[in-house]
């Protein structure tokens, strides 16, 4: 049967990261808005669509509402049809077990029935948290050519950052394309390789089932990086590394999230929505229904991305504006990422700020210091805040969501956390 998909994709979308605290208060990391109209999970979903993989499961348990809303019917990624579809798999109660997902591996283990039902030839498991453009079918082809039990995608990171990742030593079997893993260490304190795992795993289904069952039976921790990969290495399974050389944006901290957004700007941006073929669900938040961006007589706009539904009558430089942002006359928005429906009051200046949805800044406020952008950290403002007129907030501040207005009565200094 030609139509029936041979590859089942499972997207790990339940994650929530402490450092992104404010932005993941009400949504999983994969549903965090990105780039003026999209969500982070649009990248893996669009990659799957462009790779012709359209039988997809999404594993999520943390604050899934925003994510479920975003996925909709799956039609946005053409994943609706006789053999095409997206299934959201939350934790469930049942006859034999009922528990929250205890980790990434456990979330797949609890859905073994789903895998068996689809009886795929390859299961590709990937994180919904990263910004990149990858043709998965090439990696799957390599996985098949090697008759591997597991193939993981890896990319070179600076050695001083390697300790933050799962790190693989890869032999020279296939040169630039990849090779067999000789060693795998999860977040080692003294890494001896800088090939980092991108959290993209191609499994032979029977090997996946065996290792998940063993993990469930014998271990107390249930993570792919920490538990499953070491277990397969110990068992001397055929584990291969597939090398990836293009852009990979990871967004574990506010600073990284900010930087990844900034990678959309400039004359030769690292992220190209159009070329990458990024699709999003235009029904979510009704973004298809906004009128064109309205630019007033006092506006100045430089090196920025601005979506439909914004009204700009102030100055916007090196910034990304989601639908419904209003930049009033005399306001200055610099080096910032403003989610849906922010309002920047007259003569207010904000610089290097990430502001979540529905936040209103009054008149004459100052948020973020001026000066060299690389020398100060971004300030993050949680959703549904009303920053009163005249407020002063420094750089590297964390403003929690939905605060009462008196929290802004005093000047908020660099690095302060207001909750």
């Amino acid at each position: 049967m030609k139509l029936k998909p041979k590859v089942l994709a499972m997207v790990l979308a339940g994650g929530r990261v402490d450092e992104l605290n404010v932005l993941t208060y009400y949504r999983p990391k994969s549903a965090v808005p990105f780039g003026g109209f999209a969500r982070v999970i649009d990248f893996p979903l669009s990659n799957l669509m462009q790779s012709g993989l359209d039988r997809v499961a999404i594993l999520s348990q943390f604050r899934s509402f925003s994510l479920i809303n975003h996925i909709g019917s799956g039609a946005a990624w053409d994943m609706i049809g006789r053999y095409r579809g997206i299934s959201i798999l939350p934790p469930s109660t049942g006859h034999s077990s009922s528990s929250w997902y205890r980790g990434s591996a456990d979330s797949v283990y609890q859905n073994i029935d789903f895998i068996k039902y689809h009886a795929p030839e390859v299961v590709i498991i990937l994180s919904g948290d990263h910004v990149y453009n990858m043709k998965y079918q090439e990696m799957i082809q390599y996985h098949r050519d090697k008759d591997a039990d597991l193939t993981i995608a890896c990319l070179e990171v600076p050695m001083e950052k390697a300790h933050r990742f799962g790190v693989a030593s890869i032999d020279d079997e296939d040169g630039r394309t990849g090779g067999r893993l000789t060693q795998y260490r999860e977040k080692p304190s003294n890494p001896n390789s800088n090939w980092a795992s991108m959290t993209i795993f191609c499994f032979k289904p029977e090997v996946l089932l065996q290792v998940l069952e063993a993990n469930n039976r014998e271990d107390n921790s249930f993570e792919f990086g920490r538990d499953i990969l070491p277990r397969l290495m110990t068992e001397q399974r055929k584990v291969y590394g597939y090398k990836f050389y293009d852009y990979w944006g990871y967004t574990r901290t506010i600073e990284e999230f900010w930087q990844t957004n900034m990678d959309l700007l400039g004359s030769d941006p690292k992220i190209d929505f159009k070329q990458w073929g990024i699709r999003t669900n235009l029904e979510h938040r009704g973004i298809r229904d906004f009128q064109p961006l309205k630019i007033g007589n006092h506006a100045q706009v430089q090196d920025s991305l601005i979506y439909n539904g914004c009204v700009v009558d102030g100055s916007v430089e090196r910034s990304i504006l989601f639908p419904g942002v209003y930049v009033k006359k005399g306001a200055v928005v610099r080096n910032s990422v403003l989610f849906f429906n922010n309002v920047i009051g007259e003569n207010t200046v904000i610089d290097k700020v990430v502001s979540d949805v529905n936040t209103v800044f009054g008149e004459q406020a100052r948020v973020g210091e001026a000066g060299t952008v690389s020398e100060r950290r971004a300030t993050v403002v949680g959703w549904n805040n009303h920053v009163p007129g005249g407020a002063v907030i420094g750089s590297d501040c964390t403003i929690y969501p939905e605060l009462s207005p008196e929290k802004f009565n005093h000047e908020i200094h660099n690095g302060e956390i207001i909750r």
């Binding site: 990024i278 064109p292 961006l293 630019i295």
Partner: protein
């Protein structure tokens, strides 16, 4: 509203709108793009949706492909569901080999089957040609309260324009006591907007009894006024017939003025973003360093490196560095090359203009030679998918017809009023 206590909508979308010239060469007037993201018919369809009406027939005739693609399933206006639907009603062969619609009333008569298939209390008949917001639910309520046979949406227009309209003289209860279709000498300034609420049974009877009547304004309405209860439903907000190039351009420019009274966002106008072919999930508009943009509407997917002033840009328009677009309406995916100036021009989809060209400059008073009644205020038109070479100079009131290749330009200078 359950059972037959409902209103069926018939939307007349067959008009040629020939005065829009090259803009209607490949599409019917209701399908002409408007305001960056919309088509003209979106205003009528959204008014229907926002009035809570759910069963719509769209009568098409002239070049319906673009319109049919735009309607799609009707989901964009919430017309999909158990008791909802939009049905395209083209002319069909019957007793004769072909029965083209001969007029508004004839078109409705030829779709009596449709009217009978969906039992209704009233039929709301409107055109897909106008830019306005109106609550038809309120109009139908007034129609019912007055126990009218017919209610006509009417508004006051300048006396000098009255010759284009059906006109009515009303008594103090808004009952229409006299009717003149397109009068040469104005006796009133109250004009018909072409929006009719008919009691369904009354409409069927009238169409049956007057088999020669082909037009509502000319035949059906005068007959009804002479015999029965016909009321005016007064309307006094923004309403434009964008049937001429000047009116079309002006209505687009009205979008840029705060006080003009037109607002697709406040009016909750919806469009089918997928109808253009390319999926609509374009990325945000991108502004390069050095871009200058004033008083304009810019849609998603545009890339602005140059200058855009007082203009309305549909999705995917590229304005290269050093290019200037002023007082213009630019449809989807046009490309304005480096150093090119575009002034007072309406540009259809996928036009590509080379470098250092000048589009729209010269003497605004030289009307178009071929179509002096279409273009006489300085606006130039560029047809769909034309490719204009580097350094070309195009005057005022010029027309470049669709699909012109760069090689077709024998001269790089197209003088004022010329058509290519």
């Amino acid at each position: 509203m359950m059972g037959v206590n409902k209103t069926l909508v018939l939307l007349l979308a067959g008009g040629v709108g020939s005065r829009l010239n090259v803009l209607v060469q490949t599409r019917a007037k209701p399908a002409v793009p408007f305001g960056g993201l919309y088509r003209i018919i979106d205003f009528s369809l959204s008014n229907v949706m926002n009035s809570g009406l759910t069963r719509v027939g769209v009568l098409t005739q002239y070049k319906p492909m673009s319109l049919m693609k735009h309607l799609g399933t009707g989901a964009a206006w919430d017309f999909t569901g158990r008791t909802r639907g939009v049905t395209v009603l083209p002319p069909k062969t019957g007793f004769k080999d072909s029965d083209w619609y001969k007029g508004t009333a004839d078109a409705v008569r030829q779709n009596i089957d449709f009217i009978k298939a969906y039992p209704s209390k009233e039929v709301l008949i409107l055109s897909g040609d106008h830019i306005y917001q109106m609550d038809f639910d309120h109009m139908i309520g007034v129609h019912r309260r007055k126990k009218a046979d017919v209610t006509i949406g009417m508004m006051v227009v300048p006396l000098e324009d009255i010759h284009q309209f059906g006109t009515g003289i009303t008594d103090k209860n808004d009952r229409i006591i006299e009717w003149e279709e397109k009068p040469k000498i104005a006796r009133t300034n109250l004009a018909s907007m072409g929006i009719y609420v008919f009691d369904t049974e009354y409409l069927l009877k009238l169409l049956e009894e007057n088999r020669e009547a082909v037009d509502f304004g000319m035949h059906i309405i005068p007959t009804a006024i002479s015999r029965d209860n016909v009321f005016a439903y007064p309307f006094d907000s923004y309403w434009r017939d964008v049937g001429t190039v000047q009116a079309y351009w002006q209505a687009n420019m009205d979008l840029l003025r705060e006080d003009s009274g037109i607002s697709p966002e406040l009016w909750v106008i919806r469009s089918n973003a997928e109808s253009g072919g390319e999926m609509a999930d374009r990325c945000p508009a991108k502004f390069a360093s050095g871009a200058v943009v004033k008083n304009s509407l810019v849609s998603a997917g545009c890339i602005i490196e140059g200058e855009v002033v007082n203009s309305v840009l549909s999705p995917g328009v590229v304005v290269a560095a050093g290019a200037v677009v002023r007082d213009s309406v630019v449809f989807d995916d046009c490309h304005i090359g480096q150093g090119t100036t575009v002034d007072l021009t309406i540009m259809d989809k996928q036009v590509a203009i080379g470098r250092n060209a000048k589009i729209g400059f010269g003497d605004k008073t030289v009307a178009n030679e071929k179509y002096p009644s279409h273009l006489y205020t300085g606006i130039s038109l560029i047809g769909k998918k034309s490719i204009l070479p580097d350094d070309v100079e195009i005057g005022r009131n010029c027309i470049i017809s669709p699909l012109q290749a760069a090689e077709n330009f024998d001269s790089l200078h197209i003088p004022d009023g010329m058509t290519l």
